[in-house]
């Protein structure tokens, strides 16, 4: 298949269609409104569903209703919008419904700004809504990777019956890069007759299905939370993704960075290498589950004297890195969170 030049936001929308998801509900917000604009034209062409909801809160329940009825469905938003969707996402996690949520992050807190940011790391990986739950979070560093992660996200959501988040930033959404949509990543939804409210007749079943997150009995609620926990433990065993860069060198510094920020770091590493300074990098592609073992192993070599968390946030991912390194090496932070992406020169300094 040939490559086409596409804006990240449009490529994300097209990737969903190519993966077999034809249902999209959304509310406009900068810097990801192009996804909705693209799909408003594209979904009718492929016989899919496009609906602009009245708010992000409502959209999250449109997603919930559609997913509970057994449909493959997704939405896209940006930071303040994801905060509003967090209510529905919590209900979906509790009721075990699969769907894909894309967060093209902008700066915060509050209205913050409309420029790229990675300030929602905590929200995405620790506490996207009330209650005890996690999302599987993938962080693309290019438009091509955003496409591939989108296409992988639907089968993963269905495998775990849990929402999956693609955590990009404004730059991933706005920049144009050549992309291709691998046919091999098109998938069929898993059979959901055991749980989806698809109508008794369509299942030829005598057992009705009930999608709910309410468990008034303490033992039943505890059991539901144990079941959810077992899924998150399985994610930790089976879904960790990362990329290592220049880690076959005798690096003195190990950078951990993800998304757009990791591309700047890569340029900085190349320029330092030209000056005879070796720096290695681990780029988490999944932020939950976090590549803890891989970071610890990369930090725990004798030539590595310090680990650096480089992020477009004020020291969020650093907590996961410290947890991974377990005090074996000092961990430093560098970052900016106003909307302008740190330059390679700033990283080098």
């Amino acid at each position: 298949m040939s490559k086409v030049l596409m804006k990240g936001n449009e490529a994300i929308g097209e990737a969903a269609i190519r993966s077999g998801c034809l249902n999209y509900f959304a509310y406009p917000i900068t810097p990801q409104s192009e996804v909705a604009e693209y799909l408003a034209r594209r979904m009718p062409e492929v016989g899919g569903v496009f609906l602009q909801g009245e708010s992000e809160v409502a959209v999250s329940y449109m997603i919930f209703g559609a997913a509970a009825a057994g449909a493959r469905v997704f939405t896209t938003s940006s930071s303040p919008g994801i905060s509003l969707m967090s209510e529905g996402i919590s209900y979906m996690a509790g009721a075990q419904c699969p769907a894909v949520f894309v967060n093209i992050m902008r700066g915060g807190p509050g209205l913050g700004g409309i420029l790229p940011s990675q300030a929602d790391y905590f929200q995405a990986t620790k506490s996207l809504g009330h209650g005890d739950f996690r999302l599987l979070v993938m962080a693309p560093a290019s438009v091509q990777e955003a496409v591939e992660m989108m296409m992988d996200a639907f089968p993963l959501a269905e495998k775990y019956r849990n929402p999956v988040m693609i955590l990009g930033d404004g730059l991933i959404g706005q920049m144009m890069e050549p992309v291709e949509f691998p046919d091999s990543k098109k998938t069929e939804p898993l059979n959901n007759d055991a749980w989806a409210t698809s109508g008794l007749d369509t299942r030829k079943s005598d057992t009705r299905n009930l999608v709910k997150s309410l468990f008034l009995d303490p033992e039943a609620l505890n059991n539901n939370n144990l079941l959810l926990k077992s899924k998150y433990e399985q994610m930790k065993r089976e879904e960790v993704r990362f990329e290592a860069y220049n880690t076959d060198s005798a690096y003195n510094v190990l950078i951990v960075s993800y998304g757009t920020m990791s591309r700047v770091c890569r340029t900085a590493i190349d320029s330092m290498k030209a000056d005879g300074i070796e720096v290695g990098m681990i780029r988490p592609q999944t932020l939950f589950p976090f590549p803890e073992d891989q970071i610890r192993a990369a930090a725990d070599v004798t030539h590595c004297s310090v680990v650096a968390s480089i992020e477009m946030s004020m020291g969020q991912m650093i907590e996961d890195i410290e947890r991974s390194v377990q005090g074996k090496k000092p961990v430093k932070w560098f970052g900016k969170c106003g909307g302008d992406v740190p330059t390679p020169e700033e990283v080098v300094a």
């Binding site: 249902n23 509900f25 569903v49 609906l51 909801g53 009245e54 708010s55 809160v57 409502a58 959209v59 999250s60 329940y61 449109m62 997603i63 919930f64 209703g65 559609a66 997913a67 509970a68 009825a69 057994g70 449909a71 469905v73 209510e87 529905g88 209900y91 009721a95 409210t197 698809s198 109508g199 008794l200 007749d201 369509t202 009705r208 299905n209 009930l210 999608v211 709910k212 997150s213 309410l214």
Partner: protein
């Protein structure tokens, strides 16, 4: 002699958790009877609200989803958009629909979403313990309006049927009651028409049902019915506010 009265097949054997004198049981039964009569049990999905009817799914035999407070119309939208062949209804109380969920119901109605809403108005929050609702009557005492609803402070009660009927798109908007048999007969007719319109005309329909809450009103069930007839019905007038013929 044949059986002349039986439990609808769409109703489960479960004993309801509702208080003595509560009218939810009547409304549940009317919905179940209509679904049986239309023969749509196997392709119906109900959506339970937050409030007293949060456990409504225990009393029906078809597929059910449970919404967050006020969000049932958005969930119904999601289901119906991806599965237009299903018959979908939301079952919501006044705190759920007319307060926290006002945005969702107005926009779903205005888009003409092809589902049915059963809106139970008993002028009070039930499950949380009798707090003031947007539909609480002027002067009515609740746990959060202990001196009676002061309309100078919090405004007049919201008339949901009239409000939604003011929109151009929604097709069938009606208010009935379940206070006495004469009202119940009309309420059932309205519920049946609402579902029938969803099936035939592919339009949005809402049935508001004036109901009672003896527990939180602090009266016995008979007094509750009298109070609803005397205080609520003059303000919440029964009847069809909009039919597909008007649209």
């Amino acid at each position: 002699m044949g059986k002349t009265f039986a439990r609808p097949e769409s109703m489960s054997l479960a004993v309801t958790h509702y208080c003595p004198g509560c009218t939810h049981g009547i409304i549940h039964r009317l919905v179940a009877e209509v679904i049986d009569e239309l023969g749509i049990c196997g392709r119906t999905v109900g959506i339970a609200p937050v409030g007293c009817a949060v456990l409504a799914y225990n009393y029906f035999t078809f597929d059910f989803q449970e919404a967050a407070h006020g969000r049932a119309p958005a969930m119904a939208t999601g289901i119906k958009r991806v599965r237009p062949d299903l018959t979908v209804f939301t079952y919501q109380g006044d705190g759920d629909l007319a307060s926290i969920g006002m945005g969702e119901i107005i926009h779903a109605a205005n888009r003409g979403e092809k589902f049915t809403t059963i809106f139970v108005n008993n002028a009070v929050y039930g499950m949380t313990g009798g707090q003031m609702a947007p539909t609480t009557m002027p002067g009515q005492r609740t746990t959060t309006s202990p001196f009676g609803r002061n309309v100078d402070d919090v405004g007049m009660p919201i008339k949901v049927a009239e409000l939604l009927a003011a929109l151009q798109t929604p097709a069938y908007i009606v208010r009935q009651a379940v206070l006495k048999p004469k009202y119940i007969v009309k309420a059932k007719k309205a519920i049946k028409r609402a579902f029938q319109y969803q099936l035939d005309r592919k339009c949005f329909s809402l049935v508001e049902i004036i109901s009672t809450c003896p527990t939180n009103w602090g009266v016995n069930p008979v007094e509750a019915i009298t109070w609803a007839e005397e205080k609520m019905l003059p303000y919440y007038k029964l009847g069809e506010y909009k039919t597909p013929e008007d649209v």
